[in-house]
Point group: C2
């Protein structure tokens, strides 16, 4: 068996030039947008390790080095892929103006959901965090809190505390999702021993899988704490 890689790809198109050109078929030209879109596909399908420049090029039907015309390097691809996944369409358009708490909760739940739809994004954040999509989310939050009456002196701390909470919750959720067995094993060990860790063994801390409920409840605590009195 010959050793050529990717030998399955046929050398020449089997459509003859008699047919009118059809947009959909055979590779469209390489472009930054196509590269990013395909990178997201690859990341969704195979995770962070699954994205290599070689595979990316392969899937685009191009040589590896062709990518480098459109993109600086692999880091660049990751930055672009992350940004592509984090836009916020805003709260549901309704006629009655919303409670500030409802608005904040909606925004943060959407934030979390966007990231969990692409779990690899949690490993990239917050390192590449200051793209415009993130900034506009922060701006929105700031405005809402300010309107709600949070003192200027408390504003930044309030924003960062919400940010910290969402980041921690989301990153945790994504990583524990990958290893549910680990969690179960750990909890089992806890309950058996019940010597060193009686309290969290009893409360079944590691088995509680109502992630969404826990997220909302904890967020409630935080919002209670930072509500203007």
């Amino acid at each position: 068996m010959p050793a050529k890689r990717g030998g399955a790809r046929s050398k020449r198109s089997d459509r003859t030039s008699l047919q009118p050109v059809q947009e959909q078929a055979s590779e469209p030209p390489l472009s930054r947008d196509r590269i990013v879109a395909t990178a997201v596909e690859l990341l969704d399908a195979h995770g962070l390790d699954g994205l290599t420049m070689r595979r990316l090029a392969d899937r685009l039907g191009a040589g590896v080095m062709s990518l480098y015309w459109h993109v600086d390097n692999k880091e660049d691809v990751l930055d672009l892929a992350l940004d592509a996944v984090l836009d916020y369409r805003g709260p549901p358009q309704s006629d009655d103006p919303q409670d500030w708490r409802t608005e904040i909760v909606h925004m943060l739940e959407d934030w979390r959901a966007s990231m969990l739809r692409h779990p690899w994004s949690t490993s990239l954040l917050p390192r590449r965090a200051l793209g415009q999509n993130i900034l506009s989310r922060l701006e929105r939050m700031s405005k809402t809190l300010s309107r709600a009456g949070v003192a200027d002196a408390d504003l930044n701390a309030a924003i960062w505390s919400l940010w910290n909470y969402v980041m921690g919750a989301t990153i945790t959720r994504a990583s524990f999702d990958v290893s549910d067995e680990d969690r179960a094993v750990a909890q089992q060990r806890l309950e058996q021993l019940s010597g060193p860790y009686p309290t969290i063994g009893r409360s079944r801390l590691l088995l509680d899988d109502d992630w969404d409920g826990a997220f909302r409840k904890g967020l409630g605590f935080l919002l209670d704490g930072l509500s203007p009195k």
Copy 2:
């Protein structure tokens, strides 16, 4: 110049056997503990990318494959390195029993500090989170909150919310520390435009560098919110 790698290491010891054997000099035998300790050194010095099995072996004066006798693979090394860095010695021993809030705050600040002393650990957490050091921290927190009067039904949510907060804050802090210029550039752009992001531009959100203060203040909000009424 000959191409041999690591040619600087002399082939034979220059101490003769006339001298009594001294513990310190010339490589001690390979061991799991030595491997982990050296891995932590390497990680502290060069970050996550700086740790390769080849470099690790090199620094230990051994062949690469010798490591694999003591350790399963690179993942294993990372797990062990993380665990080695996360133990908690407990609150300062004092005679007056502490307020539960003081105790929680101390524990979480220590947690954060331990991780920030080894910034690479923030990229590894919380994926490898359920080692015994982490579990004992959770246990301690659980006990303290329970003693403080947090209702059983709220206990798990309270613990996870504190966990989320610490994780988010620490990971954020570590990653923004690396790229202070980025933050400054972003803030500058914000203030210049002042169109799209007027609120966070004005509040200097991205320039506020009192990280410790913000951490404590936000933690205060959260603790206010989950304090039993």
